[in-house]
Symmetry: D2
Subunit: 371 residues, 4 copies
């Protein structure tokens, strides 16, 4: 299968370039009779939209979505849902130099190497604008799971920008805490420092990276398809499929490699007649299957590749050159990455939830007795 589809049963196909007719998604396999309208999708698109604040790209896009199929009188039909977001503020001229130069740490060269052609207007397909498709599809997934798995929550936040890290309790963090600041960090003090650092990076014509943390709360036990489609394997793939990501870890992650088994294992305990673990270094999955505890993971984002400082590169003809990027960009992608990380998480959740229903039938239970 080509690479622009994700999911086995709730299957999305992403399409579109940053400059051209727009970007969008087709969702095939959506359960029928779920209430859905553009108004259910727009709020999530607005969260990832550029131009929300002083610390993100000023590109002005309404990112208004249209539903062209799959919905009838406000309800899903079970047929493919086509969601389209036209491009409105495209400025190809701002990218003219990209026609003849490869931007360092961008995909210009690799797309050229792979396809022998590329849309050099704003990064084309490799633009973060493509993530609109994921956010739109996830908004639908969230609606569906609201019916199928009530109580399921996905919350992501900025856990680190450059060297500024926060330490929050993933079991307690709330969406309002995340949305309180434009940097989407639930710790107000750290948030302010991050904002100042991002503004100074922009002033320097430079950029910053960081870490997004995410928690799934209320996930049923039993999600995940060993041996290859383990829940964490599909999460890792989902996250590494996002632009600018360099790493993924779940539960104890890389830190856990420095522990001993006797420290790391999560003892089982009974709580309210259910099997639970006393600790959660596993991060909510064991053997590739969710165990009913919160699923905790972190994603590393590199500093934005587009910077205003002049950079050494080569032309498409193979001559040394100096690139002075124009165009608009984020000095730090982290704040806008938060809704995108949540989106990919919802897409992993709905597909595994439906796969579990397909093979094992029993509607996966949020909590289960031990046997």
């Amino acid at each position: 299968m080509p690479g622009n589809s994700f999911g086995q049963i709730f299957r999305i196909t992403s399409w579109g370039e940053s400059h051209g007719g727009g970007v969008g998604v087709v969702i095939d396999g959506c359960p029928p009779r779920i209430a859905l309208s553009p108004q259910d999708i727009q709020p999530d698109l607005d969260r990832r939209r550029p131009g929300q604040s002083s610390i993100v790209t000023p590109r002005k896009e309404a990112d208004a979505c249209q539903i062209l199929s799959g919905v009838f009188r406000g309800k899903t039909l079970g047929t493919p849902i086509l969601i389209w977001v036209p491009n409105t503020d495209a400025r190809p001229d701002a990218y003219r130099e990209m026609e003849t130069m490869y931007r360092p740490s961008h995909a210009d060269f690799t797309y050229q190497a792979k396809y022998g052609i590329r849309n050099w207007e704003g990064g084309g397909r490799s633009s973060a604008r493509e993530t609109i498709a994921r956010v739109a599809a996830a908004a639908v997934a969230k609606r569906v799971l609201g019916h199928l798995a009530p109580g399921l929550e996905v919350i992501a936040w900025v856990g680190q920008v450059h060297r500024i890290a926060v330490d929050v309790d993933p079991l307690k963090v709330t969406p309002p805490q995340v949305e309180r600041t434009p940097v989407r960090c639930p710790d107000p003090k750290a948030a302010n420092r991050m904002i100042r650092l991002i503004e100074s990076a922009r002033a320097d014509g430079d950029s910053l990276g960081g870490i997004v943390e995410c928690v799934i709360r209320g996930a049923p036990a039993g999600l995940g398809e060993p041996v290859f489609d383990r829940f964490e394997a599909d999460l890792a793939k989902a996250m590494l499929s996002l632009p600018a990501t360099k790493g993924f870890e779940i539960g104890s992650g890389f830190e856990g490699t420095r522990m001993r088994g006797s420290e790391h294992n999560d003892p089982f305990v009974m709580r309210a007649g259910k099997v639970h673990t006393a600790s959660n270094r596993s991060g909510g999955t064991q053997g590739g299957i969710t165990n009913g505890e919160p699923v905790l993971f972190r994603i590393a984002f590199k500093p934005t590749a587009t910077i205003a400082k002049p950079q050494k590169t080569v032309t498409t003809r193979g001559h040394a050159a100096i690139l002075r990027a124009r165009g608009r960009h984020d000095p730090c992608v982290l704040p806008r990455a938060v809704p995108i990380v949540e989106a990919m998480t919802w897409l992993v959740l709905i597909d595994h939830w439906l796969r579990q229903r397909a093979q094992c039938g029993s509607r996966p239970r949020r909590t289960r007795s031990s046997r």
Copy 2:
């Protein structure tokens, strides 16, 4: 699709439990007319086999493979290749307690929660023994790529055990350096310290985790299928599909989040008439597509869940209990994880190589001119 297949064109399906008829794999889509015999596969199986040294599980398995189909007179037919490794040293009795108890940080409970049944003899499907299927399939992939992409190399090694880390030059490490010690760490000094630490952990009835590092050298530019099947996304999935893995990072990884764009970007330079990058913080991929530089990544493995120390857990009936594990296990999975990490890497490589040939036709080139 169910979860026991990997790859789109060179597609493998893994089957088997640790106790029962054995484990094996079916490879569908293998190119025809490639010389293949069990002798081509056995050496790789021997590298992952238990009982190789004092620091791994003493379970004695010949792990001798048989090819039941897809090969005729020593050559692949292009039809499905069935490889089978019977179980010979199964000792179900050694696992009796698993029938009634959930081992902490193992998959006993989650398999029960998902399927409502489990093979409690030695972990059944969740046993690391399943990785035989991956190693066997990868041995075939390696043979095929030996013809299609000569010069392609995949080398993994133990980069860290507990707190003992090594710093090797991934561009220079060689297989003999890795195989020199049973711990598969190319730095002799660190290797000895690791071995002593592993032996002491075993003496304590405890276990250790660590990090495996891997490099792909000689990969052509152009491998990877944006936007979801990015090369690093499929690598991440492949690695997180391995037992005991908790994290994946490529190139600068989590460390790179603390850099500025101006420090992190890899400038393009011309070398011998080809486009290269002066640094390689990208880790060999940009925009999800290989750029012809070495692909560098690291995988976090948790400490082995099976330990000899008594542990608190619950029974399948929901009563608190103390588990005293018997059975055989590795105090540290890292040495045996090395060939398995290499195996998954070969499987990602061959599938993406064939996918590139399918869509873009041109046999992907190892190095390429700028246009």
Copy 3:
């Protein structure tokens, strides 16, 4: 995978309903650098368009296509191609009765039974209007194969309407002969009789069925993926996925069941240094793989389910009722089925051509020596 995608490598996803935003298709996996514009697609859409003549539905749709992604400066990028055809002449009111009644031999009841909801305006997803997606995607496939497999031809025609059958030489029939009459039958005498019969059926408020015949000329040997994705198996699926189809046969088909092996077998002969068959009762495939001879097959289409005559049916509430269909429809779908049959054939061809290249590499040859 849900049911709205077709193809493994050149993968299309069809979307849209007969009433609503329109219908369209996403093509993923299209080879890059192929010249493509809406003008390359429109002629094929015009061939299937309603309102072309007195013997088809008068529904007036421009069926003008737009390409929203995947093409840059007139060439394919290798990224997903989104093609959209808006609905312009939708008249939901003409279908009011469908809200409360199930039309006999239509999909109203089965969609309701499957999804618990349906778009009752004009048949929604089950409308033949959906085939626009297939024709548009096939127009792209045809362009691609024009580069990859020059000399490849696909020609379909109406071989029978009701009891009027023609006997043409599939090796000689030409597109102009097919297009000469609105009924798309290359035999002028039969064509005139068919037209008169169709007009009388319309006058009676009744409808007619028939058979479309199709030939692939210039296909290379080696296409087809045993054992399940045999070339003829995928052709059969492609054709039975079209509305109103009731049967498929290849080569000698059902007639061949009355022959003996000694009469039916196709002896091999050498011609111009190539292996050929003296006869072609196999219909161009043996063992599920093309043998280089013309591929010949026939598809049965039932009489249009929508007729003007009053019919007995039941309401959605389960009461007996009489349906008097309004809305617009074809008294005979055969003429418009011709381009649709060709479209599905092109989609099967390109996918198998690319699959063969993926696994076996050698660009499939149009004719080959015996070894």
Copy 4:
């Protein structure tokens, strides 16, 4: 995906050649906790086994199956089930001439053209022996559906041999009627004539073709995934993927093309509070989805390609030659095709049943009220 897998959720991968280690299948996605043992599979394998009577091939194979994985203490685990049937009566020498000659209307030449290599011992992968994999997998599917869809029946029979046709009531035919004679034709008179004709064809060193008819009774409404994976489309593919098949028709089939819409449409009627059709020319599906009526279809099988009479052909070096086939074969494949047609039907049913459960959740109902 390569071509040796079938099904999306209940996914089988067939492997093996007629000469070599044996043939078998891996089933991935089988629901857990279903009672299963080799004894549940063997009876179906025995029905397709060679050497059952005087009218089929004398090849003597026990076709005894082994289950190597996926079953624990007599129940399915939900993990991959590997079923293996070793080859025991292989006689490669009997096929020596196939090394240098292409058998007319066999797959020798096309496999050579596709892969550039072939197992010429007994047809290798293209042998009907491969269908063992399908029958074994279907025996498991039948067990599973026995739990999920009680009352579901699949019955096939020989409806025609050469020019001898029968006319039975598909709603009444029973398995004992089918098994009463070795030719598997439920009409005793026709059966005797068929047997005599087959014996005379064998005496002539010739072979015969015919038609297998099949009915699905008790299928729920709602199975089928428009627009491409329509129920009849997947049935057609399943049947055309069988060796020696040349055609498929459902309901009125090719005969229905000679009717008018007013004759062909199936009026809806209420019966016992359920929506039914007064006639069933649709053959149990409308718009690609089952409507709850019996599903009726017919498959054309060509006369066996292997005949004892001398035949003209060419050698692999391109020289004219005369083939005198030795080896063992069926003068008429129809009797043994019956269980294979049933097997493919079960495989289509279980996959669509599980797909419906995945997307629409509600356990598909055997009969349903109108709304």
